[in-house]
Symmetry: C2
C-alpha cells in the first residue's frame, strides 16, 4: 500500500493511497487511538471515493467519534480507468435513461460484475490498512448505498472482520438476497420511500431476507439521494453503539 | 376534572383524575415548568392507562425530559365499565382467537367504535388539563400503538393542538387511512415486521398514506409487543426534537 503525504484540514488527516490498481483515501484523527474503529465507506454508482456526501460523513465519523475511515474507488470509478465492457454498461444506462426506460436490468448486471471485482479489493485493503500501526485491528463497520450496498452486502457476507453494516436502496438480485440471508451482524437499512428509480418493494424484500436478529429498516419520504438529517444522526448513533460499545448512543 | 391527592415516587408525581365518565392519570415532575410539553399516551387494546410498558415510558418522559404525561382509559377499559355491545365484541375476539381465525374484522369494528367515543373524551381531557396552572398550554405530543394508534390517528387528524405523533401497528381501515392522509405534523411509525396478528402490509399502507412531509417508518423484527430498546431511544429523541426544539436530540 502506497500512502501519499498527509494533509490536515479542520482536525482530519487525509491520505490518498494506492494498492495495486485500487485507488483509495484514508481519513483519521490528528491524534489517532490504537485499534480505533475503522469504517469502510462504499460510494454510490457513478460517483467515487471523494464524493461530497461521503466525505462529509467520513469527516464527521473522524471528528465526532475518533474513527478511522477508508473509501476506495470501485473498478472504473473515480481515478480508475474504465474498461471497454464497463464503458458499454455505462452507455446502456445512459440509453435507458434517455429512453425513459428502467435502468434496473443494466444496473443489476453492472453492479454484480463490479461487486465481484470489488470484494477482493476491499479485503486486500482491509489487510493492508490493519497492517498500518496507526490503524491496527479495531472493530470494522461498513456503510454504503446503491452500488455501495451491492458491493458491501457481498463483502459483509464473506468478511467476518466486519461487525456492523448499514445499507441503502439498491436494485436487488438473487446474489444480494443470498448474501443478506447469511448476515448475522447488526444491520440497518435505509429506504427511500418515493425513489423514482429503485422501487421500495426491493428494499422491503432485502430487509425481509436479512438473516440478522438485530436489524432495522428506516424509511423516509423522497428519493435516495437525500437522506434526512435525523437519519444521519441515527446512523452515527448506530455505529457508536456497535463499534464503541456506547450503550447510551 | 377531579384530581386525587398526589403520590410521589422516584421523582415522578402521579395523580389519578376523572372527567365525567373518563378515568385518567397524570404524571409530572416534582418541580413542574410552566407550559412544559404534554404527552398524551394511548394504551393498547385490552390494556389500560397504567399498563406497565406505558407507565415505564411515561416515567422516563417525566424524569428524562421534564414533560407532563397523561393517559386515559378507553371506553370499557381499565376502571371504566364495559357496556353490552363492547362485551359482545370482546367475546367475538376471544372466539376468533380460540378458533385460530384472524381477529382483524372484529377488532376493526371495535376499534372504530372506541375511537369515535374516545376522540371527544381526549379533547375534553386536553381542555381540562390545559386549564390546570401546573400544566398550561405547552406543545402536545401523542404516542400510542394498536388501539392507541386507532384512537390517536382519529384524534390527531382533528386536533390542531397536537404537534407531533408516534404510531404503531394497527388493523388499518378506511377511516384511519383518511385521517393519516390529513396529517401534516411530524409523524413516526413503528412497524413490527413479523407480527403474527397484524400484517406488515397494513403498516406500510398506513405510512404510505400519511400526508406529512416529515414522516419516518421504523421497522424491527418480531411482534408488536416487544419494541427494541434502540427504537425507544429514537422515539424519545424524536419527541425531544419536536417538543423541546432540541435539534441535537
Amino acid at each position: 500500500m502506497n500512502l501519499t503525504a498527509a494533509t490536515t484540514h479542520d482536525g482530519v488527516v487525509e491520505r490518498a493511497f494506492t494498492l495495486g490498481d485500487v485507488t483509495g483515501v484514508l481519513w483519521s484523527p490528528e491524534t489517532p487511538t490504537a485499534d480505533a474503529p475503522l469504517i469502510l465507506m462504499g460510494h454510490t454508482g457513478g460517483l467515487h471515493k471523494k464524493s461530497p456526501g461521503l466525505v462529509a460523513r467520513a469527516r464527521n465519523f473522524v471528528t465526532g467519534y475518533g474513527y478511522t475511515v477508508a473509501a476506495i474507488d470501485a473498478p472504473g470509478h473515480g481515478d480508475r480507468p474504465r474498461d471497454e465492457r464497463d464503458q458499454q454498461w455505462v452507455a446502456e444506462m445512459s440509453a435507458a435513461r434517455a429512453a425513459g426506460e428502467s435502468m434496473r436490468r443494466v444496473i443489476t448486471d453492472y453492479n454484480a460484475s463490479l461487486a465481484e471485482r470489488a470484494v477482493p479489493e476491499w479485503q486486500a485493503t482491509i489487510d493492508a490498512l490493519q497492517a498500518l500501526p496507526e490503524v491496527g485491528a479495531g472493530p470494522i463497520g461498513y456503510a454504503g448505498t446503491t452500488l455501495g450496498t451491492a458491493i458491501g452486502l457481498m463483502l459483509t457476507a464473506v468478511e467476518s472482520r466486519i461487525r456492523v453494516a448499514e445499507f441503502g436502496p439498491v436494485f436487488v438480485y438473487e446474489a444480494l438476497l443470498e448474501s443478506a440471508r447469511k448476515l448475522t451482524i447488526p444491520v440497518r437499512f435505509q429506504l427511500a420511500w418515493d425513489d423514482p428509480e429503485i422501487d421500495r418493494e426491493l428494499g422491503l424484500e432485502l430487509f425481509g431476507a436479512c438473516g440478522s436478529a438485530d436489524k432495522a429498516l428506516h424509511a423516509f419520504p423522497g428519493a435516495h439521494q437525500r437522506i434526512p438529517r435525523t437519519e444521519i444522526d441515527i446512523s452515527a448513533r448506530f455505529f457508536a453503539r456497535h463499534l464503541r460499545g456506547d450503550a447510551a448512543a
